[in-house]
Symmetry: C2
Subunit: 110 residues, 2 copies
């Protein structure tokens, strides 16, 4: 408010910022790939919920979904694409700016 710059929240991209999707991208950034099941369990989601968010991320080109077999069991692997990694990095930078901006203000009138 006190500056002429755009508010830092405007730099957040809803595709990436949404809580579950941010969690998915964060997990995938920490591994070369993860199974659908691992992500679902780690993020405490239902199949349907994870599928819905994956569709958004795949449509945006941020995540790659690969179907195959783990032994004889069908398995779905998820991986971050290069644009996905870039988008996550941009989100984290925007979040850091927001946190930094509010750091000075929060404790004062706690």
């Amino acid at each position: 408010m006190s500056t002429d710059e755009a508010h830092p929240s405007l730099a957040l991209d809803e595709t990436v910022h949404q809580r579950v999707r941010l969690g998915i991208l964060a997990m995938l950034s920490e591994a070369s790939e993860c199974t659908f099941t691992t992500v679902r369990e780690e993020l405490e989601l239902t199949d349907g919920n994870l599928s819905r968010h994956l569709r958004v991320l795949e449509d945006a080109g941020l995540v790659e979904i690969r179907k195959g077999y783990d032994g004889r069991r069908p398995c779905t692997w998820l991986a971050l694409t290069r644009p996905g990694r870039k988008a996550l990095r941009a989100e984290l930078a925007a979040l850091q700016r927001l946190v930094d901006r509010l750091r000075g203000i929060q404790p004062e009138d706690a």
Copy 2:
């Protein structure tokens, strides 16, 4: 994934984390109060969009909405409640943990 702790994205509260609502709470944390118009313009929202998100925040007890007059013009003031400030602080701390966790990983395989 490599720890037994819950994933940091699970600590994010959707009421507070949603991009527009995070922007509203952030703005209100930087002032004793803001007018509806100031928030709408700063966050580049429509009346309807801001109203919708304010209803969520008011229902959650995070924001107080006060209607009055600015001279002879009707005016709506918005302010963070004490729980709102606390919720924002918790969100910022959770975001910081997420950013810190991914900081080491991001640059490696850029």
